[in-house]
Amino acid sequence: MLWSVLSAFALALCAPWLVRLRPAESGWILALLPAALSLYFFGQITSVALGVPVVESTPWVAQFGIYLSFYLDGLSLLFALLITGVGALIVVYAGSYLAGDAQLGRFYLYLISFMGAMLGLVLAGNLITLFIFWELTSISSYFLIGFRHREEASRAAALQALLVTAGGGLALMAAFVLIGIAGGSFELSVLLQQGDLLFAHPLYGAIVILVLLGCFTKSAQVPFHFWLPSAMQAPTPVSAYLHSVTMVKAGVYLLARLSPVLGGSALWQWSLLSAGALTMLLGAAMALGQTDLKRILAYTTVNALGTLVFLLGIGTETAIHAAIVFLLVHSLYKGALFLIAGIVDHETGTRDIRRLGGLVTRMPLIAALASLAALSMAGIPPLVGFIGKETIYHAVLEAPVAASFLIVLAVLANIFLVVAAAMMTIKPFFGTAASDLDAHGGHGVSAAIAAGPFLLAAAGLLVGLFPALVDARLLTPAAEAIFAQATIVKLALWHGINAPLVLSALTLAAGFVLYSRGAFLARAAQWGGRLAPWGPDRWYRASVSALLAGARAQTRVLQHGYLSLYIFVAFAVVILLGAIPFWLQGLPPLAVWTEQVQFFELIIALLILAAAAAAIRSPSRLGAIVSMGVIGYGIALIFIEFGAPDLAMTQFIIETITVILFVLVIYRLPSYVELSSRSSRIRDALVATAGGVLMTVFVLAALGAGTESRLIDFFAEETYPAARGRDIVNVILVDFRAMDTLGEIAVLGLAGAGVVALLRIRPGKSASRRKS
C-alpha cells in the first residue's frame, strides 16, 4: 500500500513534464495510474470482506512509536475506491476542462499530489502518519482553491480554507499526541483493540473535544462550514473531487475510524448529534438562498456532511449502515452534479440559475445525466438516492434518543434537498433561458468531459436497481469497521409500505409544492441575502483583520526605524535579563584578583580606555570608528597575552573587516549634523555603564565558580582519539559541534543575502515598490 501512495506522488512530480510533452492526451495518460490503483483496490475487496484487515508497516521514527503503517479494512477500502475511481474520472475531465490552460501541468501536480495525500490519509495505520497526510490534503487544497492565483477572491478563499482546516489540524495533532499518551500507541491496529482503556482515561474529554475540532473544521460542520462555499473559487474538477467527494469527508472518515475507540460516551454522541443535525438543516436551508449552481452544490454538500456526522452521532447499527450507504450515494450524485455544473459553466459562461434555461436542446445527454443525478439527490426510486434516504429515515426512527424530534429535522432537511435538486435541473435544463444568454458558444461536449458524469450517474442508477452489487461485499465490511461488531448491510429498493416510505412520499410531495411556489424561493433568497453578512464568515474576517491590525500596531512600536534606539533596546533587554538572576539569587562568589599586574598589561588597558574615551568624544564618524578599532586590537592583544591565539587571530581579522565595513558605510553618510542631546547621552551612558558592570560581574562570577567542568577533560582527552585533531577549538567547531556550525554558517549566508537585499533597496526603488 505504501507504493500506491508513493506512486501517486511520483506521478504528480512527472505531471508537468508530461503535460508539456503531450498536452492533448495528458489527461488520459495521467488517469491510468488512479485507474490502475482502483483496480488494485477492487482486487482487495474479496480478502477484506473476509474481515481481516491488511496491515503493512515500515519503521520511520521507531523510537517514538511512529511507523509508516497502512491499514486496509472495509472503511479504508471504500474510501480508497472512491478516491482512486472518482480520481481517474476527474483527471480525465480536467484534461478537457482546462485544455489549453498554460498552468495545466501545475494543476495536475497539485491534484495528483492531493490524491496521494488523501489515499495516504485513509490508508494510514498510524495516527502520526495519518496526521501528516491530513495536513498534506489541507495544503494541496490550498493550492488548488488558489489555482487562479491572480484573482483576489481565489487567494482569499484559499487562505480561509487553509486557516480553518489547518487550525483544526493543530487541534488534531494535540488530540493524537494525547491519544498516544493515553492509549500507549499511535498504531490504529493496537488502539482499535482497546476501546475501553481510552474511555476511562482522565484525558478522554480533552481528546474528544480536540478530535471533534479537527474533524468539524475539515468536514465543514457548523460553525466552521463557511470555508466550503468560499472554496468554490477553485476550478470545478477540484470542487467536485476535493470539496464534495473526498477531502471534506476526511473528517467524517476520522470520526468513523475513531468511533470504536472514542465513541459511545454521552459527550461524543451529543456533540456529533447536535453539530451534525444543525449542519444538516442549515446546509440544506442555505442552499435554497443561492443562485449559483456551484454554491447550491456547496451548501448541499455541507448538508450531506452534516447528515453523515449526525448518523455517526446516533451510532446505532442501522445509523451506521445509513451513514455508509449515504456516503456512497452522495459521492455518486454530487460528483456527477458538480461535473455537470462545470460543463454548463464551460458551455454557457454562467452558473446563474436565473439566467440558464433550455439546455436540454443543446446538450441532451448532459440533461439526461443531470436529471438522473438530481433524481438520486431528491431520493426518487429506482435511484440509489432513494435507498439512501430510506435507510436514513429508518435509522432516525430507531434512534435511541429524541427520535421523534430528530425525524422532523431529517425530513425537513430532505424536503429542502428536493427543492435544491429541482432548482438545479428543472429551470436550467428544461425552462426558458434569459434573453441575453449566449445561445451558440460552447465547444461541444467531448467524451473526456462527459465520461465522469456519465459513469457516476449511471452507477447511481445501477446500484439503485441492483443494490446487491455493493451491499455485502463493499458496504458490509465498511460498516463492520465502524461498528466494531459483525453486522450485515442488506439493501433493497422495496421494503413494503412502512414508515420510511410514507415519510419519503411526504418529503417528495412537500418538496415539489415548495418548489412550484416561486414566492417561497424568492423569500428564501431574500433571507439568505439578509442573513449572509451575519454568518461566521464575518467572525473569521473580523478575527483575521484584528490579527493583522495587532501585527501592524506592534510593528509600528517595535520597528520605528531608529538604529540607535534598536541598539539601546537590545542592550537594555540583555542587561535586564542578565541582571535578573543576580537580583533574585544574590551575587555568586566572585573571583579575587591575586596576580601581579604586568606593566604592559597596564599599558594595554590604558590604551583601550583612552581609545574608548576618544570614540565618545570624536567629532567625526571616521575618528570614532578608528578608535573602536583600537579598542578591538587592544582586546586582541589581551587574548595573546593570556594564551588564546585563535581568539586573538579572529579578533584581529574581524576588527579589520569591521573597520573596512564601517568606512565603506561612512563614505556614503553625511558628517554629523547634530550631536545627541544631553539627556539621551546620559541615558546611553547609564546603559553602557550598566552593561560594562554586568559583563565584569559575569566574568568574575565565571572565574569564581571554579573550573570543575568535566568538559575540559573530555575535550582534552577525546580530541585526538575521537576526532583525530589536535586543536580543541577547531575540533569542537567542525566535529563535536558541527551541527551548530552548520546552523551558524546557514545563518551567516542568509544574513549576507539579507544585507545585500537591503542595500539594493535604493530610496527611489522602494518608493515605487510601496505604491504597487
Partner: protein
C-alpha cells in the same frame, strides 16, 4: 574611487601572499589554531583590499562566481560532508577518516571534517564579500 598606484602595486605583491596565508590558516586548522572561519575571513579581507586597489568590477571578475554562489557551494559542501557518514550507518555529521600514506612526505589523515571546514571557508568568503562588494559599489 580613484585608483592609487602605490596601493595597486602593493596589492599585486600582497595578494598572493595573503591568499596563501588564508589557505595555510585553513589547512592547519584541526591541528593548530586556524581553520575555515579565520582562513575565510583573511581571504575576504584580501579580496576587499583588491577591490580598494582595482575597483569592485575587477574583483568580481577575478572571483569568477558571484559571492552568493560561494555561499551556496559552501553550504552544500558542509551538508554533503555530513551526509557521507550516513552511508556507514553513523549519525549525520560523524567524521569519516581515511589515512593516507605519502611515503617520504609523511602520512596524514583526510576526513570529512576537512570538507566541512572547506564549506565554512567558502560560506565565510561568500557572505562577507557579498556585503563588502555590495557596499563598495554594486
Amino acid at each position: 574611487m580613484r585608483q592609487s598606484l602605490i596601493l595597486a602595486t602593493a596589492t599585486r605583491y600582497l595578494m598572493p601572499m595573503l591568499l596563501l596565508l588564508s589557505v595555510f590558516l585553513f589547512l592547519r586548522g584541526h591541528y593548530l589554531p586556524g581553520g575555515g572561519f579565520i582562513g575565510g575571513l583573511v581571504a575576504a579581507a584580501t579580496f576587499s583590499l583588491h577591490a580598494f586597489a582595482y575597483g569592485v568590477k575587477r574583483t568580481r571578475q577575478i572571483l569568477r562566481l558571484h559571492p552568493r554562489t560561494y555561499v551556496g557551494l559552501g553550504l552544500l559542501l558542509a551538508l554533503g560532508s555530513g551526509l557521507v557518514s550516513l552511508t556507514t550507518g553513523d549519525p549525520f555529521l560523524t567524521g569519516q577518516w581515511e589515512a593516507l600514506q605519502f611515503g617520504a612526505l609523511g602520512d596524514f589523515d583526510l576526513g570529512t571534517p576537512l570538507l566541512f571546514d572547506l564549506g565554512v571557508y567558502l560560506v565565510v568568503i561568500g557572505a562577507t564579500l557579498a556585503i563588502l562588494l555590495e557596499l563598495e559599489g554594486g
